[in-house]
Symmetry: none
Subunit: 413 residues, 2 copies
């Protein structure tokens, strides 16, 4: 089954935004065994969209079009598809009803230009929206098909998973299941990690075709990801193979594995805190609230996250956290952790202090940073973090490094 990707938007052609939607769709296709031989980007121009769709349909059994479904005059995808299908557009009652209900639910007035989002090429079926306003479309063209999804990434991803991929897989009659699992790691560089798992990669290579494959993905502040992909006759069989491969890799990588698939570092920390029945308070200086924001983004974090102090100005560190003396030091990190633990009455206090840059502070260069940890009955300690890069990268890396300190400490409790 071949499916080409057509991304719509003059802003893509002007280089004003990068087309990450196509990357995402391509990755999903690849994981599902759907071949994508071409990706095309075209502007908000009806004749050129039609031309792009016709070229793509000439080469593949299916095309997914991303973008151009909104309420403005620039949104021409519906009309272009209708031309390719050789049909007209009609205003779909069901699409209209859903559209009206979205605006009503948000207590917003629906202006007339929104109505075009309920227009549907004759013969097409709609993919109802669950997040935004414009529905997606499934448009048969002879034996082939054009899917239209919104350009808003979250809406696109949701429709792709719910409607497009299932329909594509049904059409392809593909029985093999391709599944991937990603092991997230933190604390090892890409080359160090590669060396650690070389024996396993060699063993899989020797096993020949059909064996699981392993790929690396250096993911910046998310560490290095190791992705295992297997092919099997059923989802159950694929998962059995993934489980076995995950166990092999965990034995090699050890506690640098901090999560699976979408599990973030802070998710791992939350699970460990809950397992130990502990609550967490945060004292943040150079990370400025990022640890807290990541904590509350974990569903159910109210079980373990109590709150935090963003002590950006030194006066806040002194007055609320009882700090005195230099703030960029291992002692300050420990004192902040102990201070916030006491102030918020939590079991654990975790802190960050350091220099995000661009200017030095207290004679320390940007990237100089410390995390502090206070635990029940164990006093407080601090440790230096090894960070590099610009201001925001130092902050993001410092956040993960501080959480990793807590994670490894809890693992060994």
């Amino acid at each position: 089954m071949r499916c080409e990707i057509v991304a719509i938007g003059t802003e893509l052609l002007l280089g004003q935004i990068t087309d990450t939607n196509s990357t995402y769709i391509a990755e999903q296709f690849s994981a599902s065994g759907i071949d994508c031989h071409y990706q095309v980007r075209v502007g908000d121009n009806i004749a050129r969209i039609v031309e792009a769709l016709e070229v793509a349909l000439g080469r593949a059994e299916a095309v997914i079009v991303c973008g151009g479904l909104g309420p403005t005059q620039d949104d021409l995808t519906r009309e272009a598809i209708a031309q390719v299908m050789g049909v007209g557009l009609y205003r779909d009652d069901e699409a209209l009803r859903l559209l009206v209900s979205v605006f009503a639910a948000r207590n917003r007035t629906m202006t007339d230009n929104n109505l075009q989002q309920a227009d549907v090429p004759i013969g097409a079926t709609i993919i109802p929206q669950v997040m935004g306003t414009a529905p997606g479309l499934i448009c048969p063209v002879g034996e082939k098909v054009i899917y239209a999804v919104p350009g808003v990434p979250d809406e696109m991803k949701e429709m792709l998973a719910r409607a497009v991929l299932p329909d594509l897989l049904r059409r392809s009659g593909e029985v093999a299941v391709i599944l991937s699992r990603t092991l997230r790691t933190w604390g090892l560089g890409e080359s160090a990690l590669a060396e650690v798992i070389t024996p396993r990669v060699d063993a899989l290579d020797a096993a020949g075709p059909g064996a699981p494959t392993i790929a690396f993905l250096a993911s910046g502040i998310e560490g290095v990801k190791v992705r295992v992909t297997v092919k099997a006759e059923s989802e159950k069989a694929a998962n059995v193979r993934l489980d076995a491969e995950e166990a092999e890799l965990r034995a090699l990588i050890g506690e640098a594995v901090c999560g699976i698939d979408d599990e973030t570092m802070e998710y791992a920390v939350g699970e460990l805190l809950v397992a130990h029945g502990l609550t967490l308070g945060l004292a943040e200086s150079f990370t400025g609230g990022i640890l807290a924001a990541r904590a509350v983004a974990v569903p159910g974090s109210s079980r373990w996250f109590t709150g935090g102090i963003v002590s950006y100005a030194s006066a806040v560190k002194e007055e609320l956290l009882g700090l005195s003396g230099p703030v960029v030091s291992v002692e300050a990190a420990a004192a902040m952790a102990a201070g916030v633990r006491e102030l918020l009455h939590t079991d654990v206090g975790l802190s960050t202090t350091g220099v995000a840059g661009p200017d030095p502070q207290e004679g320390h260069e940007p990237g100089t940073a410390f995390a502090g940890l206070a635990l029940p009955g164990a006093g407080a300690f601090g440790t230096q973090l090894r960070l590099f890069g610009g201001r925001n990268r130092v902050r993001e890396m410092g956040t993960i490094a501080a959480y990793d300190l807590l994670r490894r400490t809890l693992l060994n409790l």
Copy 2:
């Protein structure tokens, strides 16, 4: 002058990397007045590369091919271009000499597979490398032209600036400069904004070709962006036209304009605080530190940002901020703002409280949220925010909405 972009690489089709090269090239073309109507990505397959090049050459006067010039068997761009030109490849002496000298300068042994990088389609001229190993190519096809540049971003950028853009501009005889400016807005939906500026869009349409163009970009939590693009004979003249158009649009949109180009909402708030000589303290509940994290991400924010309290657990709201009674209410928002202003000794206190979801709280549905504001000598007040979407979207939207409350209040101080 039209030039299409063809990016080569199976890794693009598998979604393993995002094609930022095309974004960069497109942006450079746009700034140079070169029209790009299509961008295509194709894998390391000779027949498909040839097909992509032929389709592109059928539509445009020029094509730039990015990638596939390296030393491996997967590097097929040279051969594909030769097929499109209907010629053979020869090993170019000059290219070979340069290649050998690069390896010699790096004290590296040149393996045989590197030799193919000196292969050139008959009739093409090379663009010598100054950074890597593979030279670029300028390949005439009748009156048209194919440029080939490496896929390594730095090498591509260097060759684009040094050889490709000058050659394209020489061919086009184009002297125009195209510049864009983006007005960021918050508080109006895309369709409401479209209606507000309809008179201006109509006037520009009536002015005919050469008039500035206006485009909308719904940018999720960044609000809706309005982009003006002008064409002029010089950068200075283009900026004069952009200034005039920005003034027209500001008159229509009013204070919903919160920034220009890369200026974020929190940047705008910071500028206003500095202008009024005010410091800010934050008390965050459902936003959980995102306001603070965004504040410290603004360069120079220590001039106005003192710190914040992430009062996730109700006990923290009560003990540190002096709150009593329900926490999901307009009164609680006002009390939190007043409380943090007092606790951190700042001029301004800004707060958020509400239900991010997925579960209701105090009988309120997710999305129910309030911001509070305490100002010098003006007491404290709260207001309800209109938020929707999932847990993280509610948090992100709530952050911007709270900052917008402060921004508008400071504007009218």
